[in-house]
Subunit: 175 residues, 2 copies
Amino acid sequence: MTKRLNQLVKKIDTSTEEKILAAAKKVFVRKGMSGARMQDIADEAGINKALLHYYFKNKEKLFEVIFVEAGNRLFPKINEIFNSDIPLFEKFEKFCDEYITMVMDNPYLPLFVLNEINQDPEMFLEKLWPNTAKPNPSKFLAQIEAEVKKGTIKKVSPMELLINLIINGCFPICC
Amino acid sequence: MTKRLNQLVKKIDTSTEEKILAAAKKVFVRKGMSGARMQDIADEAGINKALLHYYFKNKEKLFEVIFVEAGNRLFPKINEIFNSDIPLFEKFEKFCDEYITMVMDNPYLPLFVLNEINQDPEMFLEKLWPNTAKPNPSKFLAQIEAEVKKGTIKKVSPMELLINLIINGCFPICC
DNA sequence: ACTAATTTTGACTAAACGGTTAAACCAATT
DNA sequence: AATTGGTTTAACCGTTTAGTCAAAATTAGT
């Protein structure tokens, strides 16, 4: 009786791994790698600290999972959007819409990712970049060049424009 | 002989306090409060770790000095510029010029300050804000309203405009 | 109901870290 | 030369922290 109930509850309840990941995300994103404590994550997940090491080898591995997930959410389908065939200004709209929505749901995410990339740029290149669809800026660049020649926009560096979009999205509403 | 030489060297050499502050700035700005190690700062300054506590009571106090100094450099004379009587677009130019120059000299500063404010907003309000000339946005706001009515610029929130200027300055050249 | 495998825990360890202390050092004064 | 006061250091201390381990609890198969 209780067994069947437990099984049912187990299926309904979020699994331990999911609880850990949710807790780790919350703590890491808020405090950063060096500021986060394994004990805090365990408390947040409502489990024993040793269980963290049972599911994830060590702090670094657990952080890596969160960081990669956060990065893939922050730079979601930037390339998919900007490499696609839709007109440039529709790209801006689509990007801003999706991006700002995401930032509003995860306010601390951009600063977190930006900061951790700053702390350890190699990890970004090794762990995040390979998982992302590689950029093919040629199309995006060509579209910008075209608009510049038409005179619809001023001459800008495509990369700077992208960075501006990403950075400005960090503070869509606050203050 | 050596005594006189030492005296001379002592006067020529930067003082210990200056060496500590320079080292602390370098380490704190790079690694953040939680990531910085007192030993690293001591090593960077080329001194014993205990000497840090001789000049500054503890890590928190030393950090505070660096944070306040960094903040006062990052938000330098924003108010002085934006409260002044010069025309709006000259304000933009002056601000961008001074600000970007500063960021180029201290690339890690904006992200550092932004991040630490995020970690402990109260410290910002208690330690940094009081040392800054209070803002008087009314003039700035009025100027923007005027330009909007003239049609020279689109309708924007003055605060958002300021934030955009500050944030965009974080990545003036890189990438 | 019994057993084996999996999951979870409390207690523990070793290292890292912030901070303290007493002694050594050094220039200036007498 | 001895004394004094500010400066610097090596050694040390207590706490925190990531990580370990064996035992307990739970689950799943028979």
